[in-house]
């Protein structure tokens, strides 16, 4: 696919900006204590993701990317966050997310991760085209940060948020690093994400009605002694 | 022909002189202990009396009990036919070498022990397991000494050994010295002499051999006693054959028998004296010291073997 000159001129910096935003949001999530804001951040990540996809679509002129951008927007920026929001209220889960590790330490670890991700992606970045330079690194960093967040959170919901954040990182990689996966794959991935999310909802209620709490301690009984 | 005659002669000689030898030993001991000896012929009188007595069988004993005396006696008679006493190369000699000979003694012993256990009386079984223990420790020692001899003469056939040792006249082998010592201990142990056992006592707690005979009487007892005397004589004969073989002629040279026979008798007499001395000088060991005693015998035998390999002689 060819990218027009003026496209290169203004498009690439914009894409970089979005990438930076994504990473920033990931950091913010890592630092965030309150569940509600966490979900908002997730939504914003979805928005950025959608924007990125749209931008790539614009630059490369692949029509199906527009579709996937719309899908992303609908699913990741609007639907999922709102539903999570609802769940939160329905299940009366509120208050803070007590982390396993205290926040500053987590952030330090996060920074280390980012450096690691970049150093890892450096050789790859070197050989990528102008558009996608650096994207792999950022996507990888986002994924790892989200992973770290899952590890350091104690509430089921916050883990789910982390899970979705990982998903976002992947999406970003898929769209802006590889300029879009094959459509069929995109569809399958989206479908899985949807089903997964539905199942999550089912789960929350099951967990709720069995343990009447969303705290992970209830889910730590099966163990070898 | 001469061979067979000689064979018979030897067996009969041993069988009928064994009581005399044992009696001589008793007499000597008595003298050495300042007692009046009963005379060398006492054993014959004892045997005669026993044979004429009625013999009893303990209730609940099986055929083994009756069979044992004959079995033991037969075994010793066969042994008497194999050991070269009068002459080497007797016709029956090749039928069993030293190892088989030891096996033969073991067979006799096992019969005796089984017969003792057949009675099921406390002291008989007591004697039985003591006997098995002593023998079990004595056998390796005995074979070790015999191995030394057979390594020297590259043969395990007793008469070949004797013939070979005779060849090299008074060249005394260092290995054989140790062997001799070991053999002597074994002889004492196997024949229930002091310091391992006391043939003259019936003090239950210490006795071994006699304990097994408690139930025997009459002709059976006579056979047992007689067998024991033959065994003693045979051991002495083996000792002589191994360590002072001179004067045992090949079967072919029967002619020289008149010369060698007195020498042989002299040797026996000498052996009797030595035994008597030992038995007066030594004290009876506590039963649980006996294994150590046998261990020394085993050790000596082993050292004999080693010296053979070190010095090649």
């Amino acid at each position: 696919m060819t990218i027009t000159a003026q496209g290169l001129a203004w498009g690439i910096p914009l894409l970089r900006l979005l990438a930076a935003l994504l990473l920033l949001l990931a950091f913010a999530m890592l630092a965030q204590r309150r569940l509600l804001t966490l979900i908002h951040l997730l939504a914003w990540q979805g928005v950025v993701l959608a924007a990125g996809t749209a931008l790539v679509a614009l630059l490369t002129g692949q029509t199906e990317l527009w579709f996937s951008a719309a899908l992303t927007l609908g699913l990741k920026a609007i639907l999922i966050p709102t539903v999570l929001h609802r769940l939160l209220r329905r299940l009366q889960v509120h208050g803070d997310v007590e982390a396993v590790l205290n926040i500053p330490l987590t952030l330090l670890a996060g920074i280390a991760l980012v450096i690691f991700a970049f150093s890892l992606a450096a050789p790859i970045t070197a050989l990528t085209g102008p558009v996608t330079r650096g994207m792999v690194g950022i996507a990888l960093a986002a994924v790892l940060l989200a992973f770290l967040m899952m590890i350091t959170r104690r509430k089921a919901i916050s883990q789910v948020v982390g899970f979705l954040a990982i998903d976002n990182g992947l999406f970003f990689a898929a769209t802006s690093a590889t300029l879009g996966m094959p459509m069929i794959v995109e569809l399958g991935v989206a479908l899985d994400a949807l089903i997964g999310f539905v199942i999550l909802g089912v789960f929350f209620f099951q967990i709720r009605e069995t343990f009447d709490s969303m705290d992970l301690q209830n889910l730590e009984h099966i163990r070898e002694e | 022909m001469t061979g067979i005659l000689l064979e018979l002669a030897q067996v009969l000689l041993v069988a009928f002189l064994a009581p005399l030898f044992a009696g001589l030993l008793r007499a000597l001991r008595a003298i050495l202990q300042n007692r009046r000896p009963a005379g060398c012929w006492q054993n014959y009188r004892d045997l005669y009396r026993l044979f004429h007595k009625e013999s009893l069988q303990a209730e609940g004993t099986s055929w083994l009990f009756r069979f044992a005396p004959y079995g033991i006696f037969g075994a010793f008679c066969l042994a008497a036919a194999i050991v070269p006493i009068l002459a080497t190369g007797l016709p029956l000699a090749p039928a069993a070498d030293v190892i088989a000979l030891v096996g033969l003694f073991a067979l006799a012993r096992v019969f005796q022990v089984l017969a003792a256990m057949d009675t099921g009386t406390p002291f008989a079984t007591l004697g039985a397991h003591r006997e098995m223990l002593i023998a079990g420790l004595a056998e390796p020692a005995l074979l070790a000494t015999l191995f030394t001899a057979s390594l020297l003469s590259r043969s395990t056939s007793l008469s070949v050994i004797v013939a070979h040792l005779e060849q090299l006249r008074f060249a005394l082998h260092p290995s054989m010295v140790f062997a001799a010592a070991a053999f002597f201990i074994v002889l004492l142990a196997e024949n229930a002499r002091i310091p391992v056992d006391n043939p003259a006592t019936h003090l239950e707690l210490t006795m071994i051999h006699e304990a097994m005979l408690l139930e025997y009487s009459g002709r059976h007892l006579a056979l047992m006693e007689w067998g024991a005397q033959i065994k003693l004589t045979l051991y002495v004969a083996i000792g002589i054959a191994l360590f002072l073989p001179w004067g045992i002629v090949p079967t072919a040279e029967v002619a020289s028998l008149p010369v060698t026979l007195p020498v042989l008798l002299l040797k026996f007499a000498g052996a009797a004296v030595i035994l008597a001395l030992i038995e007066t000088l030594l004290a009876k060991l506590r039963l649980f010291r006996a294994p150590e005693f046998m261990a020394t015998a085993f050790l000596l035998g082993v050292i004999g073997l080693l010296t053979f390999f070190m010095l090649g002689a």
Partner: protein, 484 residues
């Protein structure tokens, strides 16, 4: 075309079961669909027999010597699981008083799972492969938590999160793969088609492929249950219905390993053999040892055999790591025999657990006494799992050890240690369960449900005594394929 038929047979069951799949009717339908699928698969196999590997659906689907073998296993195990599940679920429905909805859910999800398995094996698209794996995971999550017990929920949650994250990693790997492929094949739908990738695998960018493979290994490895990614596995196996445990061990692990093998072929082309094979050997050996030692202290029979699955998968992974036509062949044989045998084990265990009403090894005693046929089935299955002749596992382990001693002599002690410890872990427990006098309060039920055990064990014995020539050739070609 037959490929699509197979998938169709499997897929059309889903909605029907979802709608009417409750009670005896549901069970019957379940069996019916799987019979159809098996027939279709046999037809497919015959076609492959006639004209070798081929693609369909515009290259989107592929069946070759590697996949056909596993597809056959899928068909067989699927059908026997359906058969077993009939009596089993009738009993469970009463015991847990499951609602009709729940039973429908069970059947539908089960069918979905089987369908996605087949899809994963038959697709030619690495992306779709991932999608199918994810689908299989999602469909089994609800099966694991079917009884809504606290334990079941917890297990299902762990399963969901761990495997979800794992598969996310695998997806990242796939994306990177696509990223690398783009460079050569340009942007497009067929840049993820395995056949195309395999054609150009020598030109793929090494650094990208390395990272991609690591991500896929961690991702799919989580589903294989390679240590230290295996923590979900015992919980999920133990808490779900035994029919589910059977397919988890028998099919899911295989398919995950299959995905890694596909990736291995590509990465071997890009970076040469050592890279992938070292990783696989390491993970395999680690899993073998850790699982082996974990079994020494098990009290729960289903956990015990879950660990044994980890152990065997580790062994197979190790074999593929050793590489070479012989070892790869052995690995395949091991996969096949293991899924047939292990599912049989879980069938018999499931019934025993129902009879006794407890999963505790201590409480299950004297199976030979209270239900001789069940006892024999269980004992034979376990002996086969332990690699006693004439089990196919004996042959595969024989070949694996042989080739290990050829290739990596100094790893054999560890291998043997693992096998020995596993033996010491499983055997005495089996003894205690089979022999002796049983406790009272045992509700013996008919052994119709475990007929498949004998069928499958016969197949395994055949694999150990006399493998049909075509199967041998398929597996040999597959080994060649993996060997590159």
């Amino acid at each position: 075309m037959l490929i699509l038929l197979v998938l169709a047979c499997a897929a059309m069951g889903i909605p029907l079961l979802a709608l009417w799949g409750d009670g005896r009717r549901g069970a019957a339908m379940f069996i019916g669909f799987n019979t159809l699928t098996l027939l279709a698969i046999l037809a497919l196999a015959i076609q492959v027999l006639q004209d070798g590997a081929f693609t369909a659906g515009g290259g989107q689907f592929l069946v070759d010597d590697l996949s056909i073998v596993l597809v056959l296993v899928d068909g067989v195990v699927g059908l026997s699981t359906a058969w077993f599940s009939r009596n089993y679920m009738l009993h469970e429905t009463v015991h847990w008083s499951l609602s009709r909805r729940r039973v429908r859910l069970y059947h539908a999800m089960f069918q979905t799972f089987l369908a996605t398995m087949l899809l994963a094996l038959l697709t030619n698209n690495m992306g779709i492969l991932w999608v199918a794996m994810e689908g299989a995971t999602l469909s089994t999550v609800l099966l694991v938590s079917l009884f809504r017990t606290a334990e079941g929920l917890e297990a299902a949650w762990k399963y969901f999160i761990l495997c979800g994250v794992g598969l996310a990693m695998a997806l990242f790997g796939t994306i990177l793969l696509y990223f690398a492929a783009q460079k050569i094949m340009g942007h497009g739908a067929d840049a993820l088609l395995w056949t195309h990738l395999a054609a150009v695998r020598h030109q793929l960018e090494p650094q990208v492929m390395a990272i991609a493979f690591i991500f896929m290994l961690v991702g799919y490895g989580t589903k294989i249950g390679l240590t230290p990614l295996n923590n979900w596995l015992p919980d999920a196996h133990a808490s779900g219905p035994s029919s589910v445990s059977a397919v988890l061990s028998g099919l899911l692990l295989n398919v995950a390993l299959y995905a890694i093998l596909r990736a291995k072929v590509l990465v071997d082309g890009a970076l040469g053999r050592d890279f992938a094979s070292h990783l696989l050997m390491g993970f395999g050996l680690l899993s073998l040892l850790v699982a082996g030692f974990s079994m020494l202290r098990q009290r729960d029979v289903k956990r015990l055999f879950a660990y044994s699955s980890i152990e065997h998968m580790g062994l197979a992974t190790f074999a593929f790591g050793i590489g070479g036509p012989l070892a790869s062949f052995a690995g395949l044989l091991h996969m096949v025999s293991h899924s047939l045998t292990k599912s049989s084990v879980f069938f018999s265990v499931g019934q025993a657990v129902q009879d006794v009403g407890s999963r505790e090894i201590q409480r299950i005693r004297g199976m030979l006494e209270f239900s001789p046929l069940l006892g024999w089935a269980f004992m034979l299955a376990v002996l086969f799992i332990l690699g006693m002749p004439p089990s196919g596992l004996f042959l595969s382990e024989f070949l694996i050890i042989t080739s290990t001693l050829q290739a990596q002599p100094w790893l054999t002690p560890l291998l043997l240690l693992g096998l020995g410890v596993a033996f010491a872990g499983i055997f005495p427990r089996m003894q205690g369960m089979v022999f002796g006098a049983h406790q009272e309060g045992v509700a013996r039920q008919s052994v119709v449900g475990i007929i498949p055990v004998f069928v499958q064990l016969t197949l395994v014995a055949m694999l150990g005594v006399f493998i049909p020539l075509t199967l041998v050739q398929w597996m040999q070609h597959a080994a060649q394929l993996l060997h590159g």
